[in-house]
C-alpha cells in the first residue's frame, strides 16, 4: 500500500511559488549568464575586437569617453531631448485622451486618425521635420514627440475608458455636473493607469533617441553611437547602447517609486 502526504507545490507548478532567495538567485543568473557568455565569446583569441569587444574593452571605452570626450554632456543633452519630447507629448496627450475617452464624438474624430498616424514610421518623418522644424534642437525633440505622442494618446484614452461606469454614475446621482464628473471622478480614477502608460511610453521615447539624433546632431548618446559606427568603434557602440538601457531602467524604477508614493491604496498588501 502506498501512502500519500500533502506536498508543498514545487516551483514548476503553474503559477507556483518561488522563495525570495531563489528568486534573486535566478535573477542573478539571468543577468550574469549573458555577461559571462559575452566574456567567454569575446575572449577567444581568433575573435576580432572590432567584431565583438569584450566587457573589459567596453569598460575602458566608458572611462576614456568620460575622461576625454565629455560623456556627461552627451548623456545630459540626450536626457534633455528625450524628456522634453516626452513631456510635450504628455501635456498634449492627457487632455486629448480625457476627451476621447469621455465623449464619443471626439473619439470618432480623433481616434481613427491617430490610429492611422501611429503606424507611420517616425524615421520617415526626418526629412519633413528638417523641412518644417529645421535642424535645431527642436527637430530632435519633434522626432521624439512623433514617436511617442500617438501611441500615448491611444493608450491614455483606453485608460480613461476603463474607469468603471458605476463610479461615474454614482457621482452623477450625487449631483455632480459634467466638469465635476470629469475632474473629480474620471481623471482621478484613471490617474494610476495613466501614470503606468507614461512609464511605458517613456521607454519608447528612449528608443527613438538614435533616430532623433540622426538629424544634424553634434552631441548626444545616439549621435555618438552613429559616429562610432562610422569609425568602427564597436566598443563605443556597446557603451552607448548599454548606457541608454541603464538610463531607461533608472527612469522606469523612478516611475514605479513615484507610482507607489502617489497611489498608496494600490499597494496595501504584500
Amino acid at each position: 500500500m502506498t501512502t500519500s502526504r500533502p506536498r508543498r507545490p514545487g516551483m514548476w507548478t503553474i503559477r507556483g511559488p518561488l522563495s525570495r532567495r531563489l528568486y534573486w538567485l535566478f535573477a542573478a543568473f539571468g543577468l550574469l549568464a549573458p555577461l559571462g557568455l559575452w566574456w567567454f565569446m569575446a575572449s577567444g583569441s581568433d575573435v576580432d575586437k572590432v567584431f565583438l569587444p569584450g566587457p573589459l574593452d567596453v569598460f575602458n571605452r566608458l572611462v576614456t569617453w568620460y575622461v576625454e570626450d565629455d560623456l556627461l554632456a552627451d548623456m545630459g543633452i540626450s536626457i534633455y531631448r528625450v524628456t522634453t519630447g516626452f513631456l510635450i507629448s504628455a501635456v498634449i496627450a492627457l487632455p486629448l485622451a480625457l476627451l476621447i475617452g469621455t465623449f464619443r464624438p471626439v473619439q470618432a474624430v480623433l481616434e481613427p486618425l491617430t490610429d492611422f498616424i501611429r503606424y507611420m514610421p517616425a524615421v520617415a518623418f526626418i526629412p519633413l521635420v528638417m523641412l518644417w522644424v529645421g535642424i535645431e534642437e527642436s527637430s530632435k525633440i519633434a522626432i521624439i514627440f512623433i514617436g511617442t505622442f500617438f501611441q500615448m494618446v491611444l493608450m491614455m484614452a483606453e485608460d480613461v475608458r476603463r474607469v468603471p461606469l458605476a463610479q461615474i454614475e454614482a457621482a452623477q446621482t450625487m449631483g455632480a455636473n459634467r466638469s465635476e464628473t470629469i475632474n473629480l471622478v474620471i481623471f482621478q480614477a484613471a490617474k494610476p493607469a495613466i501614470m503606468d502608460t507614461l512609464r511605458v511610453t517613456m521607454g519608447w521615447a528612449w528608443t527613438y533617441l538614435v533616430v532623433a539624433e540622426l538629424v544634424a546632431a553634434s552631441s548626444g548618446l545616439g549621435y555618438s553611437i552613429l559616429k562610432a559606427q562610422r569609425f568602427l568603434q564597436t566598443d563605443k557602440i556597446f557603451v552607448g547602447i548599454i548606457l541608454i538601457g541603464l538610463i531607461g531602467l533608472v527612469m522606469d524604477q523612478l516611475f514605479r517609486l513615484a507610482h507607489r508614493k502617489a497611489f498608496p491604496w494600490l499597494y496595501l498588501r504584500s
Binding site: P164, A166, Q167, E169, A170, A171, Q172, T173, M174, G175, A176, N177, E180, L184, V185, Q188, A189, K191, F263, W265, L266, L268
Partner: protein, 279 residues
Amino acid sequence: MTTKISVQQVGKVFGEGSHRVEALKQIDLDIADNEFVTFVGASGCGKSTLLRIIGGLEYHTTGNLLTDGRPVAGPGADRAMVFQHYSLYPWLTVMQNIKFSRRLAHGRENISEADVEAASGRADALLALMGLNAAANAWPNQLSGGMQQRVAIARALMGRPQVLLMDEPFGALDAQTREVMHDLILHVHKLERPTIAFVTHDVEEAIYLADRVVLMAPRPGRIDSIYTVPLPPEREQDMKHTPEFLALKKEILARIKETSGMKTDYDMLDQLNLGGVAA
C-alpha cells in the same frame, strides 16, 4: 399618501432596425412618499433598466416619468443610487467617500460655516449609523464587501436624497452579511424616511424589505403583478418563517418561473438525462 415617483406608460427601446429590443413596455407605477418598493423578475425583465430610468441614467423612449409631479431630466442629487459594486472611489478614504457630495457645486451654494459643521456632523452620524467608525480613515480596498456597501449607502445618504435607488446592492454579499444589511437598510429607512426602489433577484430579500413587491416579466419588459407584503411594518428575521411569508415567497417564485418563458430546471435536467441514456 402623496406620490413620490410616478411612472406613466413608460417604454424603453434599445437599438434600431434588426437590433431593436423592447426593454420596457407601458410601465405604469406610482411609488408613494417613504415607500419601500422592491423589483423582482426573470433576467431580461427590465427591472434594472426601469431603476436606471428613474435615476435619470437612461432615458425612456415613450411615456412620462415624474418625481414630485415634475418630469425627470437626467440624474440628480434628489435620487441617489447604490450600485452592486465598483462604485466607491478607491483613492478616497471612507470618510472622504462619504463626504464626496460636499465637494460638488450644488452642495456649495450659499454655504455657511454652520452648514459645513452640520455636514461634518452628518458624516459622523452616518459613519456611526453604518457601524463604520473604526474604518473612517481606511481605504475602500481594505474593507470587506459588506463594509464597502455600507460606505456606498452612507455616501448616497449624505446629500439627504428623497429617493434611494438600489440596484442589487447586496447581490455580491454572502448570506450572513446580507441578513445584517437587510436590518441595517430597514433601520435607515425608518430613520431617514427616503423612498426606496430596490432591485433584486432574491425573492426572500424582496419580501422581507418591501412594502410592495413589483414582479416584472420579460420580452418585452413589463409589470406582471404587484404584491402588498402582508407583514407588520416592523420587520424581524423570524418573520421569514411565518406561513404568510412562505406562501408569498412560493407564489412569487412560481410566477417568476411562469413568466420567464424558459423551461424549468427539471425539464432541462430531463433532457440532459435522456441525451445521456441515448449515448
